[in-house]
């Protein structure tokens, strides 16, 4: 495998291949084709950042543009999923889940349990998240910690084009509601991606780098920042193991605990706000299950308990950085 494509194209390819493979897969979202009801071009946009571009040309009415009525169209995806379809519905920015949180938290997530195991709701909710675009407080949030808190949802956070394609394919074939979180900074990133379709199972972490001195767990975009830090630390003789959980619900605690049992040290890099975050979640589970193995306090590198600032000067300080990760690794020593 040597073909390199972008994270964005990897997502597009997964969507296209699954639509080709299974007629019950439909794609829904704001401007997912674009140009409806205008005198200009149809399929003008492919979603606000162009991720679904070209699907309309191939699959026509199976690409459904929606009014700005997220409760209704996300809820419609949930309802259609409970009635035999496999919708992939786009929430433009994860911040906007606020306007339709009920359909996700109280409907999609709870059907199966409330109905005694008799509901199957294979809906995939794709959404773009995270900082780095100076998009300020309402377009930069991370929120997977909130989603993972909710039983009944699965939450997937890929960090590479390869994982994006394989995990999204798994989302679409999966029989549970899944939130698929695409970091906006990663869209342009290129990587090797096989042309044929493939799946990556949920709940299997990826050990991105092996090391014996400290374990760094990092999520989404943060995986790349952790790798930078690990490289720099390596020069100083500290070898970090970097683990990318890939899915945060379910989360592969086993791989993390095994690594901590080896290294005795843990840093978690999570772009979320800190309180009740994925970082605190992983920290608490490890502290409970690998208590004896820990040689020093677990360190969390997160955003502060503050909304995302607009100014680039502030956002750069707001986000976890390789320097902060390095410092955290040192603090575990």
């Amino acid at each position: 495998m040597s073909r390199k494509i972008s994270f964005k194209d990897a997502i597009n390819e997964a969507l296209s291949q699954e639509m080709e493979r299974d007629g019950s897969v439909i794609v829904m979202g704001l401007d997912n084709a674009g140009g409806r009801g205008t005198e200009g071009q149809l399929d003008a946009w492919g979603g606000v950042l162009g991720v679904t571009k070209g699907l309309y040309g191939k699959y026509g009415d199976r690409v459904i543009d929606t009014p700005i009525s997220e409760s209704s169209y996300i809820g419609a995806a949930v309802g259609a999923a409970a009635c035999g379809m496999r919708p992939v519905v786009e929430m433009m920015f994860s911040d906007f889940f606020g306007v339709c949180f009920d359909q996700m938290m109280n409907q999609a997530a709870k059907f199966r349990y409330m109905f005694g195991g008799k509901a199957v709701t294979p809906v995939t909710m794709r959404t773009c998240y995270g900082g780095g675009f100076r998009a300020a407080a309402q377009h930069s949030q991370v929120l997977y910690s909130v989603f993972a808190h909710i039983p009944g949802l699965k939450v997937v956070v890929p960090s590479t084009p390869y994982d994006a394609k394989g995990l999204l394919t798994q989302c679409i074939r999966d029989n549970d509601p899944v939130i698929f979180m695409e970091h906006k900074v990663l869209y342009a990133m290129k990587g090797e991606v096989p042309e044929e379709s493939y799946t990556i199972p949920f709940g299997k972490a990826n050990v991105v780098r092996e090391g014996k001195d400290a374990t760094i767990v990092a999520i989404g975009w943060m995986v790349h920042k952790a790798l930078q830090a690990a490289q720099s630390l390596s020069k100083a003789g500290v070898e970090c193991e970097v683990i990318d959980p890939r899915t945060v619900s379910p989360l592969d605690f086993d791989t993390i605990i095994k690594s901590v049992e080896k290294t005795g040290r843990l840093v978690i890099v999570d772009e979320s706000n800190p309180r009740c975050s994925m970082a605190s979640d992983i920290s608490s589970v490890v502290a409970q299950n690998a208590f004896k193995a820990l040689k020093g306090p677990i360190q969390m590198v997160t955003a502060p308990h503050t909304p995302s600032p607009f100014s680039g000067a502030l956002e750069d300080l707001y986000l976890p950085s390789p320097a902060k990760i390095e410092a955290a690794v040192k603090a575990t020593m």
Partner: protein
């Protein structure tokens, strides 16, 4: 009325009677403390669910509300399983995990009672979308109350349904109250159906205590939807005979209000009077049904009481298909 065969009429009457007796019985059992949780009864509104669902098959879907028993029964959900569910038993429709507010039977096209006011609007649009893709003329009906008519989800769903030309009927059950608040406070137009025009769809208001009026208006709307004619907002004005939930003293109602409604607007009485007067069914036929239904409800309660609770093994299952 002409369109309805005798067997249809008897079936409709049986359904309404089942709902009424089910609810009257749940009311009694609740008072003894045997039924847990929040319970909202549909008694008084039977003609609405029945008039609408008489037109539906198991392939058609409905979304329901917190007041969902009537919708279930009208959609053909097994009454034995329903009663067990309401008692929280393992043999219930949802294994005792859902209860009154989440009673469902997806195989019957009943997508669940719902504890969130207005949540059924989007879900019903989704069911209609699925039906549209299937292409076999299936429809969805969204039941919602006068109170729910003010929830943004319901309003935006009407617009969505129109834009997507979905085979869905928005069925407003206007029983005059949202909890303790009168519809006059919450809805500023004479009819909820007046909102339809803003979303470019037909809006119709009928007497929801008259099965025949509901049946006819729903039939038209459902036919239009099946034929690709898009959504309709159909409002049925009716009454609830019990409190908002069990335990509600109804001090917000005028003295004698329910008594008068029970006398003058009881959909079962109205049905019986019309159908016998037209010579389509006999009083004896209806009485026979009454007896059968009474026995069925007795059986349901007996079985529910005797049924086992779910056990520890059930606590953690059914969250995911796989995890």
């Amino acid at each position: 009325m002409a369109e309805l065969k005798k067997e249809d009429l008897l079936k409709a009457y049986r359904t309404m009677r089942e709902i009424r007796d089910f609810e009257e019985r749940v009311h009694k059992e609740f008072a003894t403390g045997k039924i847990p949780g929040f319970v909202h009864l549909y008694a008084g509104e039977e003609a609405v669910a029945t008039g609408v669902c008489s037109h539906l098959t198991d392939d058609d879907r409905i979304t329901s509300t917190h007041r969902g028993h009537g919708h279930c029964i009208a959609k053909g959900v097994d009454i034995i399983g329903m009663m067990a569910e309401i008692f929280g038993k393992k043999t219930g429709s949802c294994c005792g995990k859902g209860g009154s507010m989440h009673i469902a039977d997806l195989e019957k096209g009943m997508l669940g009672a719902n504890g969130i006011v207005g949540a059924g609007g989007p879900l019903g649009c989704g069911a209609a979308l699925a039906a549209k893709f299937k292409g076999k003329g299936g429809v969805a009906v969204v039941f919602f109350g006068d109170g729910a008519s003010n929830q943004g989800t319901i309003l935006e769903s009407m617009n969505l349904a129109n834009i997507w030309n979905l085979p869905v009927i928005f069925l407003a059950e206007n029983n005059g109250y949202a909890e303790s608040t009168g519809v006059k406070y919450n809805v500023p137009t004479p009819n909820i159906a007046d909102r339809a025009a803003g979303f470019n769809m037909p809006g119709v208001t009928v007497d929801g205590n008259d099965f025949f009026a509901v049946y006819e208006a729903a039939g038209e709307a459902i036919k239009r939807a099946r034929e690709g004619g898009g959504p309709t907002l159909l409002e049925c004005k009716t009454n609830r005979f019990y409190g908002h939930f069990e335990g509600d003293a109804m001090t917000y109602k005028a003295p004698g209000e329910v008594k008068r409604q029970r006398e003058e607007c009881d959909c079962l009485k109205i049905f019986a009077a019309k159908a016998t007067a037209a010579g389509l069914v006999t009083a004896a036929e209806l009485e026979a049904i009454d007896k059968e239904v009474a026995a069925l409800i007795d059986e349901a309660v007996e079985k529910a009481l005797a049924a086992p609770n779910p056990t520890e093994a059930d606590l953690l299952t059914d969250v995911y298909v796989s995890y």
